[in-house]
C-alpha cells in the first residue's frame, strides 16, 4: 500500500465534531434547516451530522442527492454512470439547505448540486459543509464549513472512506505515481 492515510478514524471523528459545532453556531434554530448530502459519501456524512444534532437540537430532515443528471458534462458522457437516485422527502422551498459532501475539489459537483436542489424549489439559502477541502477549484465555489483543509497535487486522489459504506473511517491520499505502479 502506497496510500498515505491523511486522517484516521479519530481524526475523521474530530473533524466531523468541528463541523457539527460550526454548523450549530451558524444555525441557531434548526427548525427551517434541511441537510442534503451528495451521494455517495456526502449523504452518509449528512446523516451523521443530523444524528448528532438530533441529540441536542431536535430532528432535522435529511436527504440524499444524486447529482448525475445535473453534471455539466452529462449529455457528452459516454462512460457508465450509476444513477442511484435522490431521496429527499421534505420540501426544500423556503428552507435553509446545508449541502454536505466528503471532498471539495473542482467545485463542479457542488454547482451541479445547487442546480439540482433549486430545480426542486427555491430554498431560503444554501450553505456547504465538506469533510475535506483539497483545493484546485475550477469554479468560484467555497465551503462555509470545512472539517479539514489539505494541500494536494492536482493529480492526487483524496478518498474518504466511511464505516457505513467502507467498513472504516479514514481519509486516504493516493499519489499519482502510486496509482501508476499499482495499476
Amino acid at each position: 500500500m502506497r496510500d498515505a492515510v491523511l486522517m484516521d478514524g479519530e481524526a475523521v471523528g474530530r473533524a466531523l465534531g468541528k463541523l457539527g459545532q460550526a454548523v450549530g453556531r451558524r444555525f441557531q434554530s434548526v427548525e427551517s434547516l434541511g441537510l442534503i448530502g451528495i451521494r455517495a459519501r456526502g449523504d452518509v456524512l449528512a446523516r451523521r451530522l443530523a444524528n448528532a444534532f438530533q441529540r441536542h437540537r431536535g430532528k432535522i430532515p435529511v436527504g440524499a442527492l444524486d447529482i448525475s443528471v445535473y453534471r455539466d458534462d452529462f449529455d457528452a458522457l459516454r462512460e457508465e454512470i450509476r444513477v442511484r437516485g435522490s431521496e429527499i422527502d421534505f420540501d426544500v422551498r423556503g428552507r435553509h439547505i446545508l449541502l454536505v459532501d466528503d471532498v471539495l475539489f473542482t467545485g463542479r459537483s457542488v454547482r451541479a448540486a445547487m442546480d439540482a436542489v433549486v430545480a426542486l424549489g427555491r430554498p431560503a439559502s444554501i450553505a456547504l459543509a465538506v469533510l475535506v477541502d483539497r483545493g484546485h477549484r475550477e469554479m468560484p465555489i467555497q465551503a462555509d464549513f470545512v472539517g479539514r483543509a489539505v494541500k494536494t497535487a492536482h493529480d492526487e486522489q483524496v478518498q474518504v472512506q466511511l464505516r457505513e459504506v467502507d467498513g472504516v473511517d479514514r481519509v486516504v491520499l493516493r499519489r499519482a505515481a502510486d496509482r501508476g505502479r499499482s495499476a
Binding site: D66, I81, V83, G85, A116
Partner: protein, 420 residues
C-alpha cells in the same frame, strides 16, 4: 364520520405550482420545452417527479427502462389503481403534453393522502419513459415495455439519428437486458389505469366541451419508404432519361392525402411528415428519397386498406419510373378501445357534475393504449387551445386542468369502491 368523495378535493394551486416547476426543466428561451427521451432535461424532469412523489409519501422505484412507479399500499392487496402519463417531450414542445397528466396523478395521490382516506387497493402514480417518438421513431417505449407489448430486444435495438442504440444508452446507466425484460408487469398487478391528457386536437374546443372521455385510441402504422434512382447532373440529363427518386416520393405524398381524404366508414388520417432527398444539391437530380408515412385510425381494417393502397401506388411509381424501392414498417399497432366500464364511469362522473363532455376517439397515441394490454384503461381529455400541440403555443387553462384532475380523483375513488 366516513370521508366521502365529495369532501375530497384536489388543490388547484399546488397542481399549477408543480406544473410550473416541471415546465422550468428543459425550458427554451421562446417558452417551449425540450425534454427529449433520455436527455439530461428529461432525466431532470424525472428527478423532479421522484422528489415530489417521495414528498407525498409514495414509495418510488425506477424500473429497467426508466418508468417511475410511485406506490401507496392499500389495506387490501388487490390489483393497483394506477394513474399516470409522461414527462418527456418533443423538441420545442409544449408545457402541457404529458406533464399535465403526470402532475395531476401526483396531485390525486396527495389529495387522497391529505384526506386521510384508507385505500382499499394500492394506488400508483406512473411516469412513463420515452412516450414521444421524436428520438427513436417509436412511441410509448416505457409503457409498451411495462405492458409487455414490445419485444425487449426490439426496444433495445432502437436507434436515434446519431446512430445511438437505446440499449447503449441504458447500458451507460448500468441497465442490462435482463433489467429491461423485467420491466414487464403481469396482468393483474395493475387493475385499472387512468390517464389525464391534453386533447392535442380541436374537437373539444370546436364543440365547446370541457372534458373528453376517450372511447378508443387510434394507432399509428408508420412506414419508411426509400426510392433509389440515379443522381445525375441537373443540366445535362434530359427529362426522359431521369430516374428522379424525389418526384416519385412527391407523387406518393399526394397519393397519401387522396387515399386518406376519401370518405370511409371510419376516418383515417395520413401524414408524410419527413422527406429526405439526397444528395440534396440544387444542381443534382435526387438519386435517393426517403419518406416517413404515418397512418392512423381507430379502425384497423380501414387503416390497413389505406396502407395497402399507399403501398400499391408506391410500388407502381417505382416500377413506372425505374426506381428501386425499399419499404420498412416501423410500427404497426392495433387501435385500442378503452375499457367500456371505465368509459361509462368517466362519462357518468362528468354527467353528475354537469360537466359538458364528449365521448370521443383519440387520434394521437398515448401510454394508455399500451396499459390497456394489462389493465382496464381509460383516458380523460382536456381542451387544447386552438388544438395546438407539440408546439410552444400549446396551452390549456388552469381551470380545465383542475377540473380534469378532480374527475380523475373521483374516478380513482369510485374504482376503489369509495362511493359517497
Amino acid at each position: 364520520m366516513a370521508v366521502t368523495k365529495s369532501e375530497i378535493r384536489i388543490d388547484p394551486e399546488r397542481l399549477a405550482r408543480d406544473l410550473r416547476g416541471l415546465s422550468r426543466i428543459g425550458l427554451n428561451e421562446d417558452g417551449s420545452v425540450t425534454r427529449v427521451a433520455f436527455s439530461a432535461a428529461e432525466l431532470r424532469a424525472r428527478h423532479y417527479m421522484i422528489h415530489l412523489l417521495q414528498q407525498a409519501g409514495l414509495a418510488v422505484r425506477v424500473d429497467g427502462i426508466g418508468n417511475l412507479i410511485g406506490r401507496v399500499e392499500g389495506e387490501g392487496k388487490g390489483p393497483a389503481i394506477a394513474l399516470g402519463s409522461h414527462v418527456d417531450s418533443v423538441p420545442q414542445g409544449g408545457r402541457f403534453d404529458g406533464a399535465v397528466g403526470a402532475v395531476a396523478a401526483l396531485e390525486v395521490a396527495r389529495a387522497i393522502r391529505d384526506a386521510g382516506v384508507r385505500l382499499r387497493r394500492p394506488l400508483e402514480v406512473l411516469v412513463f419513459a420515452a412516450e414521444e417518438s421524436s428520438r427513436f421513431g417509436f412511441s410509448t417505449i416505457g409503457s409498451s415495455a411495462m405492458a409487455g407489448a414490445s419485444d425487449p430486444d426490439r426496444l433495445l435495438a432502437l436507434t436515434d439519428k446519431h446512430g445511438e442504440r437505446l440499449g447503449e444508452i441504458l447500458g451507460r446507466f448500468g441497465i442490462a437486458r435482463d433489467d429491461v425484460v423485467a420491466v414487464r408487469r403481469p396482468p393483474g398487478e395493475v387493475g385499472h389505469y387512468l390517464e389525464l391528457h391534453i386533447e392535442q386536437g380541436r374537437v373539444l374546443a370546436e364543440e365547446g366541451k370541457r372534458l373528453g372521455v376517450v372511447r378508443a385510441i387510434a394507432a399509428p402504422c408508420r412506414l419508411k419508404i426509400t426510392y433509389r434512382g440515379r443522381a445525375d447532373h441537373s443540366g445535362s440529363t434530359p427529362m426522359h432519361l431521369r430516374r428522379d427518386a424525389l418526384v416519385a416520393a412527391a407523387r406518393l405524398v399526394a397519393h397519401v392525402e387522396d387515399v386518406c381524404a376519401a370518405p370511409g366508414a371510419v376516418p383515417v388520417v395520413g401524414t408524410v411528415g419527413v422527406i429526405d432527398a439526397r444528395p440534396g444539391a440544387m444542381n443534382v437530380i435526387p438519386g435517393e428519397a426517403t419518406l416517413w408515412i404515418d397512418l392512423r385510425s381507430t379502425s384497423l381494417a380501414e387503416r390497413t386498406a389505406c396502407r395497402d393502397a399507399v403501398l400499391g401506388e408506391a410500388r407502381r411509381l417505382a416500377q413506372a419510373r425505374g426506381l428501386e424501392i425499399e419499404v420498412a414498417t416501423l410500427m404497426e399497432d392495433a387501435p385500442v378501445p378503452m375499457d367500456s366500464g371505465v368509459v361509462e364511469l368517466l362519462a357518468r362522473l362528468c354527467a353528475e357534475r354537469s360537466v359538458d363532455h364528449l365521448v370521443m376517439d383519440s387520434g394521437a397515441g398515448h401510454d394508455a393504449m399500451q396499459m390497456a394490454h394489462i389493465a382496464r384503461a381509460g383516458m380523460l381529455f382536456i381542451p387544447s387551445r386552438e388544438g395546438i400541440s407539440h408546439n410552444l403555443k400549446e396551452w390549456t387553462s388552469a381551470e380545465d386542468i383542475a377540473l380534469g384532475a378532480q374527475v380523475l380523483l373521483e374516478a380513482a375513488l369510485r374504482l376503489m369502491g369509495l362511493d359517497a
